[in-house]
């Protein structure tokens, strides 16, 4: 498993543009008609990047990659180019958000550069964009997830799923920082928050991308198929987020065990916070589904109960039934 994760983490690093302390950050302007990539990267790495991730770039508009924007930016920066979102100009909100979406999905290495290379982490504007991405992406998926039981459940699930993700992040940030600190990595609190938020935003984006598939299944088939499809979508999104996370940790030379500890902790907290805000998909036999169930049992009890039931051992007294 760790070998696979290492391979995943190392994959794509050759195409990832990097900014180091020795190289002062500079605005990057890609020439027209050329995908945005690190201009300082070796040509062969750039070729590999182009082969690996074909991108479509408007031929008539230079682009600025999401990275640092120093105050002494040269005057040849095109004034009509989409902003990188780090300058905080209100007019650039939509382009910068779209640029970030594109970076997170297509060129995670470039996004990681802006998130973890600086001790200050991402700028407040970027963090806002990432939080918004998490909220909208997970909200869309949640809305589709609950849509089978009507608009109210759809709305509730659309609110609850982003809350689960964001609450889990809030609970996990402090231990993440502590673990990174005691492992001796160069991740600061700000860059840890940026990295984890970036991974969560990627998760939410993939979930949003798969929401139509879930909608298709939910409109045609029954409860258990919705569950299986939702789990599969979450697995795909989780893999994409994990890859981003481990790429970021590899970038700062953090030990693999730090990432594994993060994932374990995030999984535990996420499972429990999801359990607290259930239901997301309501069983068909439930006549009047609640928005949030009472705080009964826990996630692990439900899993162990399901495992016993899977082998034909039912415990009627302790069975968790929907209320």
């Amino acid at each position: 498993m760790s070998a696979a994760l290492t391979a995943l983490a190392s994959e794509g690093l050759s195409v990832a543009p990097r900014v180091t302390a020795a190289q002062p950050p500079s605005p990057r302007v890609d020439p027209p008609g050329r995908p945005h990539a690190d201009l300082q990267a070796p040509a062969e790495a750039l070729d590999g990047a182009l082969d690996a991730t074909p991108r479509v770039t408007p031929s008539d508009a230079p682009r600025v990659t999401p990275n640092y924007t120093p105050s002494d930016a040269p005057s040849d920066t095109p004034s009509d180019a989409p902003s990188d979102g780090l300058e905080g100009a209100p007019d650039d909100a939509v382009p910068s958000a779209l640029t970030w979406v594109e970076q997170l999905l297509r060129a995670p290495g470039a996004a990681l550069g802006a998130l973890v290379d600086s001790p200050e982490g991402a700028s407040p504007a970027t963090l806002r964009t990432l939080v918004l991405t998490v909220a909208l992406g997970a909200g869309l998926f949640g809305g589709v997830l609950g849509a089978a039981r009507g608009p109210l459940q759809s709305l509730a699930a659309g609110v609850k799923l982003p809350v689960v993700l964001l609450v889990t992040l809030m609970v996990c940030v402090a231990p993440f920082v502590a673990l990174a600190r005691i492992a001796g990595t160069r991740l600061t609190a700000a860059s840890t928050v940026s990295l984890v938020l970036g991974a969560s935003a990627r998760l939410a984006l993939v979930l949003a991308g798969l929401a139509p598939v879930l909608w298709l299944v939910a409109s045609e088939v029954r409860y258990h198929s919705i569950i299986v499809t939702a789990v599969a979508a979450c697995a795909v999104a989780g893999a994409a987020a994990l890859r981003f996370l481990f790429q970021g940790l590899e970038r700062v030379k953090a030990p693999l065990r730090v990432g594994l500890a993060w994932v374990l902790l995030f999984s535990l907290v996420g499972a429990q916070s999801g359990w607290c805000l259930r239901p997301f998909v309501v069983r068909p036999r439930t006549a009047s589904p609640p928005i949030v169930r009472a705080l009964e049992g826990d996630f692990f009890e439900a899993i162990s109960g399901s495992a016993r039931a899977a082998v034909g051992r039912y415990d009627a007294r302790s069975a968790l039934t929907p209320r």
Partner: protein, 178 residues
């Protein structure tokens, strides 16, 4: 890879008193967070029990550690062993302070038989990682069969001492929770 890249943080180790203070504060914070979902009395009890467990176990395991190190082929000074123990406890305090938020979350949201089990697992894992870290620090300069045997023996003893302290404190805390 860029040659100017600095992979790790190289900060000087904190003084022993600061490290011990961090250990005390971090473990107390973790204990208080663990008791957050119970009564204030239980919260206070957890807040006292956690430092007692971690610092007490370290105090119990330190004399055998000094003995084991002294029997190794090239023993480091007792002062450096004590300093390494303090620094490891400081790092453990940082980890426990970080784990306070999840501990509080689980304490508030989970009231099943899995809650104490999860707490015990967290405590054992944290203690085990600290033990391994200290062992690597203290016995790292003397890689021989004898020093390996001494390290293993001390690790086993430290685990037994820690588990014994955990059981005793668990008994006391279960009385508070009832």
């Amino acid at each position: 890879m860029n040659p100017s890249y600095t992979p790790t943080v190289s900060t000087p180790p904190p003084p022993l008193t600061r490290a011990l203070g961090t250990a005390l504060a971090g473990s107390a914070l973790f204990g208080l967070a663990t008791g957050l979902g119970h009564t204030p009395r239980a919260m206070l009890a957890f807040g006292l029990a956690a430092p007692a467990l971690f610092l007490g176990s370290a105090a119990l395991a330190l004399p055998p550690l000094c003995l084991a190190v002294s029997a190794s082929p090239r023993p480091p000074s007792i002062a450096s062993v004590v300093r390494a123990t303090g620094e490891t406890l400081g790092l453990l305090g940082v980890a426990l302070a970080g784990l306070a938020a999840p501990a509080a979350f689980f304490s508030v949201t989970m009231h099943t038989r899995h809650a104490p089990a999860l707490l015990v697992v967290a405590v054992v894992v944290a203690g085990g990682v600290a033990l391994r870290s200290l062992s690597k620090r203290v016995f790292v300069d003397t890689p021989s069969t004898l020093s390996w045997s001494l390290a293993t023996g001390w690790n086993v003893l430290a685990v037994v001492l820690g588990l014994r302290a955990l059981v005793r404190l668990g008994d006391a805390l279960s009385g508070v929770l009832r």
